[in-house]
């Protein structure tokens, strides 16, 4: 029996009069890839932002490894082992790979100096090189290279390796294959499989249903702020999932058309 890592219970969030999240409940187990699907405005972003500490939820409970937690900031989410990788907004293009990998968690000397503490540049560089080597992209990339010189796929690899490096329990991927080429997309999907093998739990948000069938174990579908369906990948098919997303019964429509 795989252990439960993250449990969301009846999460609720409104922005003014708009109810963005209604009674959302979801469980994520160790080493499991769950795909979160839904049309634009279905509430996926609100859900992951709530988990990653961008804003407080109005009601509901979040449990990490069975313990009730409150997540009030991105920092607290990270400290609980929840790492979020946003579409293309996870890295600072003007900073080096090494500096990005440790952004917000910089190794420093003279810690008592607080924010004025000097970066441990040697450690920063060595750790970054070791990490790049471990994820197999050391040959091409220098830890001192600026992110702005990298391709979209390389950037996504850096963001993902950063999440894995901090041994995150839960890695949330927000549209990780957006704007990527075919080969780069496969690289990212391979990363997702590696994350699962390493025991991380992955919450994958995507519009590409084919990718879901390639890597996910379970599918959760949202519509108008609610979770409307939850199925294991083995028990469903593409058409069913598509109708769940749009709310129209596509499979019966198709049958009628045929």
């Amino acid at each position: 029996m795989m252990q439960e890592v993250l449990r969301l219970q009846n999460l609720q969030k409104s922005f003014g009069s708009v109810c963005a999240l209604k009674n959302a409940s979801l469980t994520l187990k160790e080493g499991e890839v769950v795909a979160l699907l839904g049309d634009n405005g279905a509430g996926k972003s609100t859900l992951i932002k709530a988990i990653s500490g961008f804003f407080p939820i109005d009601r509901g409970d979040i449990y990490v490894r069975g313990e009730k937690v409150s997540i009030r900031s991105t920092r607290e989410a990270m400290d609980l082992g929840i790492e979020t990788i946003h579409q293309d907004t996870s890295l600072a293009p003007d900073l080096s790979i090494a500096r990005n990998l440790f952004l917000g968690r910089e190794p420093v000397n003279l810690k008592w100096l607080g924010v004025f503490a000097p970066l441990d540049l040697a450690k920063l560089r060595d750790a970054a090189s070791a990490l790049l080597k471990r994820v197999g992209i050391s040959k091409k990339l220098d830890a001192d290279a600026l992110i702005s010189t990298l391709s979209g796929g390389e950037r996504q690899s850096i963001a993902i390796s950063r999440a894995m490096q901090f041994a995150a329990r839960v890695i949330i991927l927000d549209e990780p294959t957006n704007n990527l080429g075919v080969e780069e997309t496969h690289g990212v999907l391979r990363f997702v499989k590696e994350m699962r093998e390493a025991g991380h739990s992955v919450l994958l948000i995507t519009h590409n249903i084919h990718h879901v069938f390639e890597v996910a174990d379970r599918i959760v579908v949202m519509r108008r702020g609610e979770i409307v369906a939850e199925q294991t990948v083995a028990d469903t098919d593409l058409l069913t999932v598509e109708s769940l997303i749009t709310g129209a019964d596509l499979s019966s429509l198709m049958k009628r058309a045929l």
Partner: protein
């Protein structure tokens, strides 16, 4: 095996070569080359340019704008800017001198009050920009008017009567000393010390990493737990305090405070910073570049007069030289991106 060895060798060699070429291509380096060329041109055109008297003169003015430029560099690197610095430069010494001359305050307390005022102005700038989310251009433009207006109102538009009380604080801010034929002001030490601090913070401290990250991609920094708003607010406060400090240094040096002092300084300071190679859009900042930029604008202002450009045509030259610098940076940037 052979392949492994080759990879390792390549890895060992690459960074050195890369570092050298990236140094030459870096914006602060090209600014430095142009500064040297400019200095050479002025020196050849007029041999008084490098005379002790003229160098002393340039060094007297340099720290006053330079100190503000240090704060502005950090602020710009974080992606914001401050147009109210010239007005704060004017208001702070006016308030300090008024408190002493008319209010009978002790100078130390008055200086402290002046700094608290600068902190408040910076905090207002920062809070409105970050918490309400209005662009720093609009916020600091409005604050510029408020601050300048306040300076004019409390002085009724007249310069204060001249300052005639030397003392420890006055020496600390605007004392002077001679090295050979050169006469320097203590403000030069302030500038050097603050420059070293700023270089350290931006390049080597954790905070510098945050500042660059915030300007480069704010949401990425926030997602990594960097307190972007707090950092920006403190940078607004720092810039304001430095502007006030520079204003006090200037006022004590000439023994007078005028409510219109520092008019137009905001643009001159921003010019120094971007000419040095700091990106106006944030993310890329260089203190060394700013020092070069400050020297360059100072040298241009001074040299052009010596060379004999008519006073009224003078801003044409300043503008053209700044524009040429920016075009050069843009071209270098394009080149770097292509390679």
């Amino acid at each position: 095996m052979v392949q492994t060895v080759m990879t390792i060798a390549a890895e060992d060699e690459m960074p050195v070569g890369k570092r050298r070429s990236s140094l030459i291509r870096s914006p602060q380096f090209s600014s430095l080359v142009i500064l040297i060329v400019l200095l050479a041109v002025f020196a050849i055109a007029d041999r008084n340019f490098l005379s002790p008297l003229n160098i002393s003169n340039m060094m007297a003015f340099l720290p006053e704008l330079g100190i503000i430029a240090l704060g502005m560099t950090l602020l710009l690197t974080a992606g914001e800017f401050d147009l109210s610095v010239g007005a704060v430069f004017g208001l702070a010494p006016v308030v300090v001198m008024l408190l002493v001359q008319n209010g009978g305050w002790a100078i130390g307390i008055a200086l402290l009050a002046g700094l608290v005022l600068c902190i408040a102005i910076g905090a207002i700038n920062g809070l409105i920009v970050t918490k309400i989310g209005i662009s720093s251009f609009l916020v600091t433009l409005s604050i510029l008017l408020v601050v300048r207006g306040a300076a004019l109102y409390i002085t009724q538009g007249f310069p204060l009567k001249s300052w005639d009380q030397p003392g420890f604080f006055v020496t600390l801010l605007a004392g002077s000393f001679n090295i050979g034929a050169f006469r320097f002001y203590t403000s030069l030490w302030w500038f050097i010390g603050l420059s070293l601090l700023a270089v350290y913070v931006l390049r080597y401290a954790k905070l510098g990493n945050w500042i660059s990250a915030i300007g480069s991609n704010r949401s990425a920094a926030v997602a990594r737990g960097v307190p972007a708003d707090a950092v920006k607010i403190w940078l607004f406060i720092l810039t304001s305090v430095l502007a006030g400090l520079a204003g006090m240094i200037s006022a004590f040096r000439i023994s007078a405070a005028s409510p219109v002092a520092g008019t137009g300084y905001e643009l001159e300071v921003i010019a120094m910073v971007v000419v040095g190679g700091t990106a106006l859009t944030g993310g890329r900042g260089t203190i060394l570049g700013t020092i070069v930029g400050a020297l360059m604008l100072r040298a241009i202002r001074n040299g052009i007069v010596l060379v004999g450009v008519p006073g009224l045509a003078y801003n044409i030259f300043v503008g053209v030289i700044i524009l040429a610098m920016l075009i050069l940076h843009a071209l270098l940037q394009k080149n770097a991106a292509r390679s």
